[in-house]
């Protein structure tokens, strides 16, 4: 799991798994928070390149991190957002708090 987290300057890059559901979501959130708190990163970039499935557990991961970083003026980004993931993001309204980079 460690290799899916990387800090670049002030940004935490999170490589999201193939399937994002409740089974893995708590582990991803905890790991990300460790970096946010101990490495003092301000921004989080979620990379969906490998992801083929995401249910509302993914919304929880993203919203949770957003709430953590915005207190220090941080932001949340998404990259490599494909069809199925895009629908889930727009349906939930997440695109209003997150920058989606094409």
């Amino acid at each position: 799991m460690e290799e899916n987290f990387k800090v670049i300057d002030n940004y935490l890059m999170v490589k999201m798994p193939e399937e994002i559901d409740h089974h893995q979501s708590a582990a991803i959130s905890e790991r990300a928070d460790m970096f946010i708190i101990h490495k003092k990163v301000n921004n989080v970039v979620f990379d969906f390149e490998k992801t083929v499935f995401m249910d509302s557990s993914g919304i929880g991961i993203i919203m949770g991190r957003y709430k953590k970083v915005r207190c220090f003026g941080g932001k949340v980004f998404a990259v490599h957002v494909n069809g199925a993931i895009r629908r889930v993001i727009y349906l939930s309204g997440l695109h209003k708090v997150m920058d989606i980079l094409e």
């Binding site: 409740h22 509302s56 557990s57």
Partner: protein, 151 residues
């Protein structure tokens, strides 16, 4: 396959999160016989995942229990029923409101029922406190095949 052919499967499994992925794959495999579109498969998987996750974390609150999924195909019409014998829901109407969740500490977004509604054609929820919850969803599959069909 005969257009009006009926086919039914039942899955019953322990209420543990590792089985969420199993249930999605099994139901996706079941519906392939009617040639759904990739988007339809994704819709069904998402709605199913929401209902199964709810049974595990809200119904049984991550304690022991069995989740039952019944899938029926009548021609290209799919019915999926997800049933638990967990704690039940006091106020179903309120529970179904988007963003309403009783487990914010688990980072639940309150979007589960909203997703089931969005990704399926129909959604019914029956629940009784102390007895459990049944979620029934319906969807017509393979809608793209209309063009080439002589019916």
């Amino acid at each position: 396959m005969d257009r009006e052919m009926k086919n039914e499967i039942t899955l019953e499994f322990d209420a543990v999160s590792v089985n969420e992925g199993f249930a999605r794959v099994a139901v996706a495999a079941f519906i392939t016989s009617v040639n759904p579109t990739i988007e339809e498969i994704s819709d069904v998987k998402t709605a199913l995942s929401e209902a199964v996750t709810n049974a595990i974390i809200h119904g049984y609150e991550e304690k022991e229990g069995k989740v039952r999924v019944v899938c029926l195909l009548e021609g290209d019409r799919l019915t999926v029923e997800v049933k638990d014998k967990g704690k039940g829901i006091e106020n179903v109407e309120r529970a179904m409101e988007p963003l309403y969740t009783t487990k914010p500490e688990l980072e639940r977004s309150g979007m589960g029922f909203a997703f089931m509604e969005a990704f399926m054609d129909e959604l019914e929820v029956e629940s009784a406190v102390g007895e459990g919850t049944t979620v029934r969803m319906r969807k017509k599959l393979g809608t793209e095949s209309y063009l080439g069909d002589e019916e």
